[in-house]
Symmetry: C2
Subunit: 408 residues, 2 copies
C-alpha cells in the first residue's frame, strides 16, 4: 500500500499551513497560543510567523506587556492583502459575499433565483451578476480580487469537470469553462459538502474537535465529514452523500431518481410532503417558494398549529434516524447542523431530533456525542469556499503548500 | 484544533512500522521493493532493515545474482522469533489459530459453541480451552507465545473495558480481567470490525488501495473502514457499526432492540426471516444452527430451489441497498466481503448485490468502485487480531512505535 509520505520539507510546508489555520481560527492570537494549538515548538512557530509576516500574510496587531514584563505581540491575518469572494449557489438563491484576506465578511449580495429554472446558462449568469453587483456596490476593482470560490450543488471533480446530482442541472466541463469566462477572475469550484466542512473545520467546532460531521439541510441535504482534522473527500470526491443514502427501503421517490433517500424526507420538498400527508389542504402548501414554506412552518409552529407541529415531529424522527446512521458508521465527536432549514426551524427540530438520534445510535457510538446548531452562521458556504479560494491563491503564489486536492 | 503532530522521531518509528508492514504484506521481498511500496528512500530502508535484522524481527532469506551482477538479498519476517495466537470469537464458534512471527498459519482449533448460550463465563472458558488445546496439540510451550489477540463481538474500549452489543453478552471490565487471568498470556482484545480492517489493510486489498470498506457477514454484520491507509476507529472505537444503521425505517425488530437495522435483513437470522416470509414451512428453517442453515442455502440454491433463490435475491437487494449507503457516505475505492455467510453464499449473492449497489449509489460515488470477495480468507479475523498482538509485542519490547491506540 502506497500512502503519501511526509518528508521534512512537507513538514515545513504543513507547519506554515497549520500556523495560518490557527491564526485564521483564532482571529487574533499570540505565538504562544499558536504553538499550544498546533503542537509546534515555540521556535518553529516564531520562524514560520516571521516568514509569513515578511510575506504580508500575517501582521502584528498590537503589543501588550506580559506578566513577567516582556511584551507579547498579537498576530492576525493581514486583512489588507486584497479581497476574496465566496459564492453560495443554491436552488433558490445565489449569494456572493466579499471578504478581506483575514476572512472578515465585508458585504454580501443575494439574488433570488427561480427554483424552477435549472438551465445552466441562467445559473452561470446569476453567479456572474451577483459578483459584478457585489464588486460595483463595494467599489472593489477586479484587480484587488485575489480569488473567487463558488460552491456548486453536486459532485465536483478535478479531472472530469462538474457533474451535478440535481436533475436538469446537467453541468459538464463546458459549463465550467463558461463560468470561468463569465467570472473572469481566479476561480475555484467545490462541492458544498466539502465547503461546509472547511468552514466548520477552521471557523466552527473543528477548532475544538478532531472528528465531526456537519449536516446541511435545505432543498438538498448532505454531510461534510472531518476526521482527524482533515476533510473526508472520498475516492471520487463524493463522500458525505448521506442525503441520498436510504432512510426507507422502497420509500418516497427522491429527485435523484432513487426511492427512499434521506433527502426525500428531510429536504424541504420532503417536509412539504410530510405536511401534505398530515393535512393535504394546509395553506402553507399553496406557497410557491420553499423558503416561504420554511418561514411559514416556523411561524405556524409558534402559533401552535397542530398539523405543522406534527410535521415537525415527524421530520425530527426522520432526521434523528438518518443522523444515527451517520453516527453509527463514522462515530464522530460532534454533529453540527447548518443550512437554511436549520436557521429557521432549528430550535423547533433539535430537541426531538437529538432524542431520536441518541436512542437510535448503536452501542457506544453516541457516547458523549454532541449535537448542536453550527455557530459558523448563515454564510458558512460562502465563508468555506472563500477560505478555499484564499488558500488556493496563497498556494499559487508559492507561499503555501495546500492540502486541497481539488484545483479547478 | 489539536491534531497529533509527527516529529522527526515519530517519522523514524513510523519508518520501522512501514517497513515491517511492507515485508508482512509481501511475504518475501527486497529492499528495493520495500522502498518502492513505502515511498521511503533506499538509504532509509537499508538502515531500518539492518536494524530490524539485528533485532531478530527480519531475516535475509536468500541472495540472488542481480542483472548487473550485484547480488540482491531477499528479506522476510523472522518466523522463528516465537509464536502468536489469534482467537476469533463468534456467536457460533471459537477458533484459535497459531501463527509464527512471520504470521504464517501453523495450526487451528475450532470449538463449536451453542449459539443460544451467551453466558460470559462460558465464553471465557471456551476461549481458554481453545487456546489450551491448540498449544497442547502443537506442543508449543506457553513461554514461546509472544502474544494472544482475541476479537470479541461488540465495542472494545481501552478505558472502560468491553461493552458488547449482542444482547445478554453483558461483558464488563470484570469479564475482561477474568479473560486475562484465564488466558494467562500477554493479551490484546479488539473489535472484530477493526480486526478485519487490519487484516484487509496489511494482507488483502489494502496492499493496492488506500481507501476501502470490508464488510463482515455472519450472525452479525458490520464494516471495517480504511481511509488513507489508516483504520477508522471513531471517537469511541465504534466506527463501522453499519450493521445497526437503518435499512427500513420502523422495519424488522433487530436483536439490538431497534427496528429496521441492516443486520435484521442480511445477518443470518435476517436471511432466515426472509426465507420464512417466502416459504414459512421450508425445511431449512427447521435446522437448529445458523451455519447449517447457510450451508443448506448454498446447496438448495445449486439444486434450483425456487424459494431459496428468491430469498437470496431479496438478500442481495437488501445488501446492495445497504452497501450503497456506506458507499454514499464513505466513498471508498473498493468494498470487500468477508465472513462465513460470504464464504458459503458469496458466489450466489455477489452478482445481484453488485448490480443493486451500483444502481443505488448516488452521483459519482460508485464510479470505478470494485466489489469483491476478500482474498484474506477464512481466517481473516484470527489473522487480523494476531497481527495486532504481534505489533503490540514488538511495541512493548521497545522495538516499534505502534499506531494502535487500543491497548488492553
Ligand atoms: Zn436521492
Ligand atoms: Zn440493530
Amino acid at each position: 500500500m502506497v500512502v503519501a509520505r511526509r518528508t521534512s520539507r512537507d513538514i515545513r510546508s504543513e507547519s506554515r499551513l497549520d500556523v495560518l489555520h490557527a491564526v485564521l481560527s483564532a482571529g487574533e492570537t499570540t505565538r504562544g497560543a499558536v504553538a499550544a494549538s498546533t503542537g509546534l515548538s515555540a521556535a518553529t512557530v516564531a520562524t514560520v510567523v516571521g516568514e509569513l509576516i515578511v510575506e504580508g500574510i500575517l501582521v502584528e496587531t498590537k503589543t501588550t506587556a506580559g506578566r513577567i514584563g516582556r511584551p507579547t505581540a498579537t498576530i492576525a491575518m493581514s486583512a489588507e492583502r486584497g479581497r476574496v469572494v465566496g459564492v453560495d449557489v443554491a436552488e433558490t438563491y445565489v449569494r456572493a459575499v466579499l471578504f478581506d484576506t483575514a476572512l472578515a465578511q465585508l458585504a454580501a449580495v443575494e439574488l433570488a433565483r427561480d427554483e424552477h429554472d435549472l438551465d445552466p446558462d441562467s445559473v452561470v449568469d446569476a453567479i456572474g451578476r451577483a459578483i459584478d453587483r457585489l464588486l460595483a456596490q463595494e467599489r472593489v476593482s477586479r484587480g484587488a480580487v485575489l480569488g473567487v470560490g463558488v460552491a456548486l450543488p453536486g459532485l465536483v471533480q478535478g479531472d472530469t469537470g462538474v457533474s451535478v446530482v440535481v436533475p436538469n442541472w446537467s453541468w459538464h466541463t463546458v459549463e465550467l469553462d463558461r463560468l470561468r469566462e463569465r467570472v473572469g477572475l481566479p476561480l475555484v469550484v467545490d462541492n458544498p459538502l466539502k465547503v461546509i466542512a472547511t468552514a466548520e473545520l477552521w471557523l466552527g467546532r473543528g477548532r475544538s474537535h478532531t472528528s465531526l460531521v456537519t449536516v446541511n439541510l435545505g432543498t438538498g441535504v448532505g454531510a461534510g465529514i472531518v476526521l482527524e482534522g482533515s476533510i473526508l473527500r472520498g475516492a471520487t470526491n463524493s463522500a458525505g452523500e448521506w442525503g441520498h443514502s436510504l432512510l426507507v427501503l422502497d420509500g418516497r421517490r427522491c429527485r435523484c431518481g432513487r426511492d427512499g433517500c434521506v433527502e426525500a424526507y428531510v429536504g424541504v420538498p420532503g417536509i412539504q410532503q410530510t405536511l401534505r400527508e398530515i393535512a393535504p389542504e394546509h395553506a402553507l402548501l399553496a406557497l410557491d417558494l420553499q423558503r416561504d414554506f420554511i418561514i411559514g412552518m416556523a411561524e405556524k409552529a409558534d402559533e401552535g398549529d397542530a398539523a405543522v407541529s406534527e410535521a415537525i415531529d415527524r421530520t425530527a424522527y426522520y432526521l434523528g434516524s438518518a443522523l444515527a446512521d451517520l453516527v453509527a458508521v463514522v462515530n464522530p465527536e460532534i454533529v453540527t447542523l447548518t443550512g437554511w432549514t436549520v436557521w429557521r426551524l432549528g430550535e423547533h427540530l433539535l430537541p426531538a431530533t437529538r432524542e431520536r438520534l441518541l436512542s437510535q445510535s448503536p452501542g457506544g457510538s453516541a457516547q458523549g456525542l454532541e449535537i448542536v446548531v453550527s455557530d459558523v452562521g448563515t454564510s458558512s458556504v460562502a465563508t468555506g469556499v472563500a477560505t478555499i479560494a484564499l488558500e488556493r491563491f496563497l498556494a499559487d503564489a508559492g507561499l503555501l503548500t495546500t492540502r486541497i486536492p481539488i484545483a479547478l
